[in-house]
Symmetry: D2
Subunit: 299 residues, 4 copies
């Protein structure tokens, strides 16, 4: 069982996780390229600091190249019986590829989807993991320290083999896109008719208890409206991480209809366009057949 | 302040509400056409049983004709200073019309959106109301008895004038459509890849704490999967009440884009079709231009 | 059979129609409030100019109040056996209401959906009408003059009773929204990858003959790109007339799933928003749970 | 310039193309595994039959493995200066990979998207190609024989380097999905209100001339309704080839919103489900919170 582990990546998520693990009595040696937050000077130092056998290094860096780089470097530093935990947002086929590489050197690999954002330090993190049962068992004290209080199986799942954790997290995030867009559309419709519902913030706050739509996201929506009742300081520009895209790609590969999640994804794409080529084309067509003016000059 | 009120309609919702009100010490005389649940034999008897002045009758019958009928009949039985509460799912312009009719006789009208389903008896009901401040104040003991424990403004709102309660409830239900469809799409995608995520029920259960998608609907989804892990006994046929439709209609009237909520509504329509004329047309087109076989004979 | 008719409304459509009718040898007295295009000074003068019996006045003014006003005024000027033709874009229940009013005075009513835009003068107009067979027969020379060359039933239909013409036109326009958006999305995707397809205009022009997607709208798209290969002078702001909205409303009333047409409608709504309240809400939610920056300051 | 070419794959498309090429005076040696349609017994025989230099073999077999197999085999049979034409529906990155392989042996590669279905024999095929200008020039007599009559650039485009032809065809097919679904939704809405529009077939036929929605797909829709006015013999089950999926995948990779085309794709997925897991989940949720019956027993 793990009592001292390594943690690579001390950004918004990793930093808080180190703190939560330490509060739970787990010794953590953290590495980050920024010396002001790092416990050691290099990945090699981090690995050297860990007691064997069965050393554990949790990787918490951006998906794609950064994660690939760290995991590959760890592959050269760790050895038989050690375990790498990928806690970032890797695409699940990446997990399967990385695990196969590490397996050649006897190094285990567990992928973990971690949900909870900046609130995880206090509330705990929802965890979905994939990998071998033996590796998962080894990591159980770590998972127990990170997950929320309450029954273990309401904040943690060993969802399947390597890749299952990030697959589950990918779907989780796809759902999240849909949920957020649903609340957002409702908010917009309320806001469009303040002659009827005069108190939008109060109305959404009243949904916090007893209603069918109560949720943590709703609580956050209410909090946002408390701080800024018309969201006047918020730009209508919404980023998307890879996971919403992967969710829709995966659905297409499996012939699963995903109208709501894809609509939420496309709304984000559109939110970032200053000028929509598609809508220019529609405007051009209307002008061609109907002699319709494009955008009225008064606007 | 109300200590004895009338309640018309003792179905799934009304029956539970009577019970919750009584537990809170409010005297309730209930009327329902089914004698086995009714406290009195007629609406007239119900009104006669209530102490004046400022009698209160809460109506909890299906929207449309049934509600119109009861409210109109109450208009003939009640008088100046009394208040009718429409707690069903009326379309908000109906509220405004009914209120105007009752106002001619000095009778007040408050519309209340009630959320919480069969769980409201134990958990309390989320309440959104519209009407005059004086009427709402009169009803406050009733609202306090029905709403969930906790801060009043997290389970109750006076959202605006007559119609505001049902407008808020309409939007609430529209959001609900979107939320349900988002979870459902995620469930389907997980279910399509059980070679990766081997434990769908366990995965969704692990989302109950700490994650961004945690919600009461998720809790219910997990409960449904506990009872029937593949939902084998559930038909893929989904009804829709009027409120999802009204939400989209309202959005269209106000030029509010509603891609997610409308997609959820259309998915329900499609779920009830044995045979989709539109998809027959697409199949016919493919056959026309490509000589494509329509449904393979092996199916 | 009609040889001399009245035409009210000499805007973009009406003006061209008068010309096409005259070229076909039909005498037309036109009225418009703008004296420079009008043949007479008032509606009364127009009616007075027409030979009886069975006078025909075609109304070609904007839907809603303007059409209602003209038809009502004509109801006072015309009499038994005369016929009003509503050639604008009235909502079909309006037709049914107007027809019932005129019927009380023995005046017939035919609703006609007219498609073809500014090209109709040269190409002819596609016509869909609703009304009594006797009225339609009376109007046949007018329809034959307006419709395109070719078999009558490929440019004209008597689709049913009063209202059928505008119902058919409403659905026609709903389809049109979907078609335009489909081409527009394809155009945008081509434009996003000019490292692969280096000639967007040439590619779409090559679709004009032989392909499955060839159509009149495609021809117009190519024409627009000929004039402005990147649509640089076109704003991405798209109006919508009522007919797309009515199409979706009608589908909702009939539980018909309309994912494509509704998506096209919502894309237009979104195109006109400077600031999307819904996307502000999504951005606010992301900021709340993830500490995500909203729109990067560099943008 | 090519006067004698090879053609591999004599299915629905290839067979007709051989015929159209021969009618235009181009000598074609065709190979297909089915001896009854094949001109030679093997690919090797086909290559042997072609005059050099700069032999041309057009491949017209299903995308994926079959195409990869044939192209690879041709790579072993052809040599410096020869050209392979991939006329099937390969994904454009496949083209780029195949072209790179063949280039190592001095063999050219041109990808061509071919549209027109079974009507191409008579009407000609819309052609979009990608590759080197010299190869395209060599193939020009072939393209001219296959394309429709009329200006060359209205039925043919050299859209860019290798891959551009199939990229253009992919987008073409994505648009096609959207167009078909738009007509199909309109057809369904008309069919839902035959109390208003009594003649659905006649109405759509009347759109063939003069209207904004006129197109070749509309002509086919009318033809289908002529043969079967209610599409009674057509199953509502719609296949999808890879190209619709690739279109949406590509849009996601490029952050291009594609609400209409994706909705059309998802409608096809849904059309093939006997039982929708997502809608079972929605039904289960409704049952959980509202005690709503799932599918009424009367249905």
């Amino acid at each position: 069982m793990v009592s001292h582990m390594g943690l690579v990546g001390l950004g918004k998520m990793g930093h808080n996780m180190r703190e939560r693990l330490r509060r739970a009595g787990i010794e953590v040696t953290g590495y980050d390229p920024r010396p002001e937050v790092s416990d050691v000077e290099s990945l090699a130092d981090l690995v050297a600091a860990l007691p064997g056998p069965r050393r554990v290094v949790w990787v918490m860096v951006p998906a794609g190249e950064p994660t690939r780089g760290v995991v590959t470097e760890l592959g050269g530093l760790l050895g038989d019986g050690d375990v790498v935990v990928e806690g970032g947002n890797s695409h699940y086929p990446e997990d399967q590829a990385r695990a196969a590489e590490l397996a050649e050197r006897g190094i285990g690999y567990v992928d973990v989807g971690v949900s909870g954002g900046i609130w995880g330090l206090e509330n705990g993190y929802g965890l979905m993991c994939g990998g071998d049962a033996a590796h998962v068992e080894l990591l159980m004290p770590v998972f127990d320290a990170l997950r929320p209080e309450g029954p273990r199986d309401e904040g943690f799942v060993h969802a399947g083999n390597v890749g299952a954790g990030h697959f589950a997290k990918m779907v989780h995030n796809g759902i999240e896109y849909g949920l957020m867009q649903a609340y957002a559309e409702g908010y917009e419709l309320l806001s469009a008719k303040t002659d009827v519902v005069t108190d939008v913030h109060g109305t959404m706050r009243a949904w916090k208890r007893g209603t069918v739509v109560r949720s943590w996201l709703l609580d956050l929506m209410v909090k946002a409206l408390e701080e800024d009742p018309r969201l006047a300081a918020i730009d209508d520009w919404v980023a998307d991480s890879g996971e919403g895209r992967w969710t829709v790609d995966e659905a297409i590969d499996n012939a699963v209809p995903l109208p709501v999640i894809s609509a939420a994804l496309f709304a984000r794409f559109a939110s970032r366009q200053d000028d929509s080529p598609a809508m220019k084309a529609v405007a051009a067509l209307r002008q061609q057949f109907g002699g319709h003016a494009t955008k009225p000059s008064a606007e």
